[in-house]
């Protein structure tokens, strides 16, 4: 059965929200990401405004490079709880058009509008109304692609950014794709791109003219997938809900460090925000994983699995720290830390404990902290153990 899929992608989302909340940023190159520290910062750009893109800045670019390209730009750290809030409002708007929504990131979603078309004149009018509501209610713009499958819809939404609106009519799929550069194909990274160009394939149309056998000989199974995509074939459904397998939080240090106190404090903060996410989704998990990347980029993960399902940050922190203590002593400095939890289970289905009343005060405190942080941001209140010891340090 033919389907109609809409892909929506908010334009320069984080930067746009900052410009919305801070009128003085509007019309200026704005970079949301790590602290550039006068060109010596170490993180990356997470989003930048279209004004900043004119300087050649793009997401995932090292922040130091962004700074060199645009030293007079406005660099801000990002406020994820605010973005999440706008994202939730975005989803609420989308729900007016179809219940079949697959949120793929904070600012991006697929909508299966096949069964909603009866309510609107046609797909184009649905798309236009959707864009209008986003502008009216969020004061932000989104780019939209509408096509017969997810792959085409996503390519379409990207073609005319910002404020784009591209429709691929049924039957026009191959014609639509043919002139596009192969780098636009899903899953084609630098390596595949090089190989394809060496084979004399620069556009998707050129790829589609090769036989499936030739591509599968060259790329194996991946070749069959490439061939299908080049013809605009993609049968994946819009997945409205899925079983979440794991949650994790990680952080790169501004400077590689071997300071135990700092590392353990960071683990505590990661555990705290991880557990907040879990509690928000009413989830508990049984396997706690520590991820650690050293200054030579060697990366290790270590896990422990418990018989109990856990959502307490004190336990997650304790486990993360003990896993870390077993791994230290290599003499290497730490570049990145991550804490994750898997084997998730919803709280209904929770094995109750005999001695849990003991911690009922603690649970109430946790709930209170969560709600205060939701309202006023993460810096409002914290456990004393998370306070930066440097501030009150008194070495004598």
């Amino acid at each position: 059965m033919s389907r109609t899929i809409l892909h929506l992608d908010m334009d320069a989302f984080f930067a746009a929200v900052e410009q919305l909340d801070n009128p003085k940023y509007r019309g200026k190159p704005l970079i949301v990401g790590a602290n550039p520290k006068g060109g010596h910062g170490r993180g990356v750009v997470s989003t930048c405004s279209y004004e900043a893109r004119e300087f050649g800045i793009h997401s995932a670019m090292p922040i130091s490079q962004a700074y060199r390209r645009c030293p007079h730009g406005i660099f801000v750290p990002g406020r994820h709880s605010r973005y999440a809030e706008v994202s939730r409002a975005m989803i609420e708007i989308l729900k007016n058009f179809t219940p079949a929504i697959e949120k793929i990131s904070i600012d991006e979603a697929f909508l299966d509008i096949t069964h909603s078309l009866g309510l609107f004149a046609d797909a184009a009018s649905l798309g236009r109304q959707l864009k209008k509501r986003i502008v009216n209610e969020l004061e932000l713009t989104a780019s939209i692609g509408i096509a017969s499958n997810k792959f085409l819809a996503k390519i379409a939404s990207d073609l005319d950014k910002p404020d784009g609106f591209v429709m691929v009519q049924p039957g026009e799929e191959e014609t639509f794709l043919a002139p596009l550069d192969i780098s636009r194909l899903w899953g084609v990274g630098k390596k595949t791109e090089q190989v394809l160009r060496a084979m004399g394939i620069d556009t998707i149309g050129e790829l589609a003219r090769r036989t499936e056998t030739e591509l599968s000989r060259r790329f194996g199974k991946w070749g069959n997938a490439l061939w299908r995509l080049s013809r605009g074939l993609d049968s994946r459904d819009v997945v409205t809900s899925w079983v979440q397998k794991s949650i994790s939080q990680e952080r790169t240090f501004d400077e590689d460090t071997d300071d135990q106190v700092r590392i353990e404090l960071t683990l505590a903060k990661l555990a705290e925000s991880l557990c907040r996410l879990m509690r928000k989704d009413n989830l508990k998990g049984r396997t706690i994983t520590l991820k650690i990347r050293f200054d030579d980029f060697s990366t290790f993960t270590r896990s422990r699995t418990f018989s109990d399902f856990i959502d307490s940050s004190q336990i997650v922190k304790g486990v993360a720290v003990s896993l870390y203590r077993r791994m230290r002593g290599s003499g290497k400095k730490v570049r990145l830390l991550g804490v994750g939890i898997s084997q998730l289970n919803s709280v209904s289905g929770e094995q109750l404990g005999l001695f849990e009343q003991d911690s009922s005060m603690n649970r109430k405190l946790t709930k209170l902290l969560d709600s205060l942080q939701d309202k006023f941001g993460e810096q409002t209140v914290k456990r004393a153990s998370l306070l930066d010891s440097a501030k009150g340090k008194n070495k004598g």
């Binding site: 018989s307 289905g349 109750l352 005999l354």
Partner: protein, 372 residues
């Protein structure tokens, strides 16, 4: 050191103590068993520094001496030998030669000075009791012990000596067993400690042929003395939780069920339960008990109905099937009584008719059902 011994008795003795030898250790000498020969008595000792065990064996002694011998390799070779006489000899460089029939095997031992000295301390409360009775009490509690290093005080069996009463309690925070021996003769001294699982597993292995056991308890260690074997263990540090407080006294929904029928139903139904939670649902209604499970992920479900002596209000409660099966397996009576209050409080399980001088109860916390 030099002696001759029959393979069968020798293997038995090693088997009884090998369990203490740590698999991984930062102190390699603990991978050895200490052999000490005085005339015709061979004493073998193993330790992991927390738990120690030593056992005596009669041998044909030829030359006294003491040496530490690698436990694993010795165990493996003796295990593979047929039941024939064998000879073991250690020289001054701690090279150990084992000769049996046509075979000759050489191991590198270590000096006794490398091996930690085990000194068995005095104990405050001392008692003697029937070994099989004691073994029964251990096996009924040990299964409920926690393996979770997050709560170390639950990783052993709490043992308490009172006047005229011996009490064992084990819990992993989800289920609990309390067993009281009231035919118990104590010295009148009150004492308690938490005995690590490993010590009790070792003890259980050695109890089979024993008639009586002598137990000595102090607050930080415990000693078990058998006819030829002594086990010494440190107690687990810390406070055992206040278990009396969590034993409900107002569970007014009481049901009597045939233990075998119940257990086999639960086993079958649990095959269809979620593989992570093992959740099953018990639905009580007048005269019967419904046992159900479903695995939403794979679409399977199971349902059985068994007769139950019940006349109270309908009640649904969820349990981890494995926990329930464990509990039913460790009771001996034909029927059991299950006392419930509501779907989120601990259920109490008793055997119908306690054995003489024994008072046992088990607790099981539910799994929260989706509808409450």
């Amino acid at each position: 050191m030099k002696f001759r011994v029959n393979r069968k008795e020798f293997y038995q003795a090693i088997q009884n103590i090998i369990g203490v030898v740590p698999v991984k250790t930062t102190l390699p000498v603990l991978g050895n068993i200490l052999f000490d020969l005085q005339e015709s008595t061979l004493t073998m000792t193993g330790t992991d520094l927390e738990v120690s065990i030593s056992t005596k064996l009669s041998v044909q002694g030829e030359r006294d001496g003491t040496v530490a011998i690698p436990a694993k390799i010795l165990f493996e070779i003796v295990k593979e030998l047929p039941d024939i006489p064998m000879q073991l000899e250690a020289d001054e460089d701690f090279k150990v030669a084992l000769t049996a029939d046509k075979g000759f095997y050489k191991l590198s031992g270590e000096s006794k000075d490398e091996f930690p000295q085990i000194s068995i301390e005095e104990t405050d409360a001392n008692f003697e009791m029937d070994a099989q009775r004691f073994d029964g009490m251990i096996s009924k509690t040990l299964f409920a012990v926690s393996t979770d290093e997050l709560r170390t005080t639950l990783m052993g069996v709490y043992m308490k000596v009172l006047d005229g009463e011996l009490r064992l309690v084990a819990t992993d925070g989800h289920r609990l067993v309390k067993i009281i021996d009231s035919k118990f003769n104590s010295s009148g001294v009150q004492q308690e400690t938490i005995v690590p699982t490993k010590a009790l597993n070792l003890l259980s292995k050695n109890l089979a042929k024993e008639e009586t056991i002598k137990v000595g308890i102090s607050d930080d260690h415990i000693v078990f003395r058998l006819s030829e074997t002594t086990i010494f263990s440190k107690g687990i540090e810390g406070q055992f939780p206040n278990y009396e407080r969590v034993i409900p006294i107002d569970n007014d929904k009481k049901v009597i069920i045939n233990r075998d029928l119940f257990s086999s139903s639960v086993k079958r139904v649990s095959i269809f339960s979620n593989s992570i939670t093992h959740q099953i649902r018990l639905s009580l209604s007048s005269g019967s008990l419904d046992i159900r499970s479903e695995d939403i992920e794979f679409g399977g479900e199971a349902r059985e109905k068994i007769d139950a002596d019940y006349s109270g209000d309908n009640l649904d409660v969820g349990y981890n099937a494995n926990y329930l099966i464990d509990i039913l397996r460790h009771l001996n009576s034909d029927e059991i009584e299950l006392h419930l209050k509501d779907p989120v409080s601990a259920g109490v399980i008793y055997p119908t008719g306690q054995e003489e001088g024994e008072d046992i109860l088990m607790l099981l916390m539910p799994i929260r059902l989706n509808d409450n």
